[in-house]
């Protein structure tokens, strides 16, 4: 099993370690709910080193990504990040990724841990088929990645760097910290402000000491504490953010997600006329009247949690969809869930039911995201 370069940090801070996509990662240090609230109220530090980091560099780097990413890449500026899908030919989602543009011909692509090998193989296959001159270098094991998220994080970072707090959302900067080259982006997966940092694996323990040097995890008012993947999941559910294997998958039409901003259906206007893999299928989906299912938000009238694969029913009892993720929201104090439901059948405010297998819970459709910081 792969270990994060800051595995020892987790052990020292009393983490409960679990297997996640072939990595041994912390699910929690103290309590998932406490860590969730710490991120919403102050700040949390997540190790996300398990995520794949692929450097794409060379003459055809942009064309390779233009052809594999649903989002337009050519208009990205240096220092910009974009959230995108990578689709299969059928318009299903192979993965959701963050593309960072370092230079005209140099990108960093952050992919899900569970999809890293698949995406590397996919990019290699497209490169070979199109005879692209590009170098695809999997930097995952040479680097670490840490996310610092929460309303007090930017002030905390302001004590170390004047520049980073001036970054706009979805922008990044490269910094040299002593001998380390860092990529710091104003991105995240919690619905809070904050940064994600990619840095060399050899220097991450030193960087962690620096980052946590004035932080006492036992202080209830600490601006930042370690937080595990358990809290990361409940935070992203509240923020209405999709997770591969739940809201995203090869069999799920990219348009069904409702994240239309991440799908550049006008891509062939690119200077090379480059369309993206899956674009044709998605155009057919549009031409046929749109996706058959849509991602919706549900608020459940219970303290019970709606879990993946539970059935969503119309009030009359007919099945109309399936839960993808759910939690008892620590921030809202309500049971919330995301689900796919037949398009056009359930609208905001409509009542429906969730069948847990043992009980039937009353629910209603609410807008996504469930939580948004003002």
């Amino acid at each position: 099993m792969h270990k994060s370069p800051i595995h020892d940090f987790h052990v020292q801070h009393g983490a409960q370690m679990v297997e996640f996509a072939g990595w041994e990662m912390p699910i929690k240090y103290t309590s998932i709910i406490d860590e969730h609230n710490q991120v919403r109220n102050a700040g949390g530090m997540f190790d996300v080193s398990h995520m794949g980091r692929l450097e794409i560099k060379g003459l055809h780097a942009k064309r390779l990504l233009e052809h594999t990413c649903s989002r337009i890449i050519g208009s990205m500026q240096h220092g910009q990040c974009r959230y995108s899908f990578m689709c299969n030919e059928q318009g299903g989602v192979k993965d959701d990724v963050i593309v960072m543009r370092l230079d005209d011909d140099e990108f960093m692509v952050v992919v899900n841990a569970s999809n890293r090998e698949k995406i590397v193989a996919h990019l290699d296959a497209v490169k070979a088929a199109r005879e692209f001159k590009v170098n695809i270098d999997d930097k995952t094991f040479k680097t670490a990645m840490v996310a610092a998220q929460g309303p007090r994080i930017m002030a905390l970072i302001g004590g170390v760097s004047k520049e980073i707090p001036t970054l706009k959302k979805y922008r990044f900067t490269t910094k040299n910290l002593l001998v380390l080259k860092l990529i710091v982006s104003r991105t995240g997966y919690t619905g809070e402000d904050g940064v994600e940092v990619i840095l060399p694996a050899s220097g991450v323990n030193m960087a962690m000491k620096l980052l946590m040097k004035d932080v006492d995890p036992d202080d209830p008012d600490a601006p930042m504490k370690p937080a595990g993947l358990g809290a990361r999941d409940t935070l992203r559910i509240e923020a209405g953010m999709p997770l591969y294997g739940h809201e995203l998958g090869e069999e799920i039409n990219a348009l069904a997600t409702g994240f239309d901003f991440a799908i550049g259906m006008n891509k062939n206007t690119d200077e090379h006329g480059e369309t993206f893999i899956g674009q044709q299928a998605l155009q057919k989906t549009v031409d046929d009247g749109g996706p058959k299912a849509r991602l919706i938000g549900l608020e459940i009238d219970s303290k019970r949690t709606a879990r993946q694969h539970m059935k969503v029913l119309l009030p009359g009892g007919d099945q109309i969809g399936e839960i993808t993720s759910g939690c008892l929201s620590p921030t809202l104090g309500k049971s919330i869930a995301m689900a796919y439901a037949a398009a056009g059948r359930l609208n905001e405010g409509d009542a429906c039911l969730v069948d847990t297998g043992k009980a039937t819970l009353e629910a209603r459709v609410v807008p996504l995201p469930f939580y948004k910081r003002d």
């Binding site: 699910i27 929690k28 309590s31 709910i33 409940t234 303290k303 019970r304 949690t305 008892l328 847990t356």
Partner: protein
């Protein structure tokens, strides 16, 4: 993690059973609680429900998962822990005392003989 108390017996499925006279109190071990993570919802069978050894006495939900809780004696449910309705986290804080789940009036305790004592359970389940 706290050592399991020696005054009760433990099931492979991580319930503890403590018998006082004919009143059996059931809860879940600290090991189970640590694996479940924060509890979010608890529902036990109604008072009056008859349980046979191996029957489901109720359900606990955590951030991570939903699990059944089993009873290993014969008897009738007399009381569920009312404090857990508003504060299921009490089970995380104090799984062996304040975080008990359900009490059963036992008609036949012989099912408990097959359960483990604290030392055997602790040897098998060290976190």
């Amino acid at each position: 993690m706290s050592t399991p108390p020696a005054d009760r017996k433990y099931a492979e499925s991580h319930e503890w059973h403590k018998l006082d006279g004919d009143t059996l109190t059931i809860g879940i071990s600290a090991f189970a609680v640590d694996q479940l993570t924060d509890l979010t919802f608890i529902e036990m069978k109604e008072p009056g429900t008859h349980l046979s050894p191996g029957d489901v006495a109720g359900e606990v939900e955590s951030v991570k998962t939903t699990s059944d809780v089993y009873c290993f004696a014969e008897g009738d449910v007399i009381e569920a822990n009312a404090a857990l309705a508003d504060n299921p986290g009490l089970v995380n804080e104090d799984p062996y005392e304040k975080g008990w789940l359900v009490k059963v009036k036992v008609t036949d305790p012989s099912g408990l003989d097959a359960l483990m004592d604290a030392d055997t359970y602790a040897a098998e389940h060290t976190a």
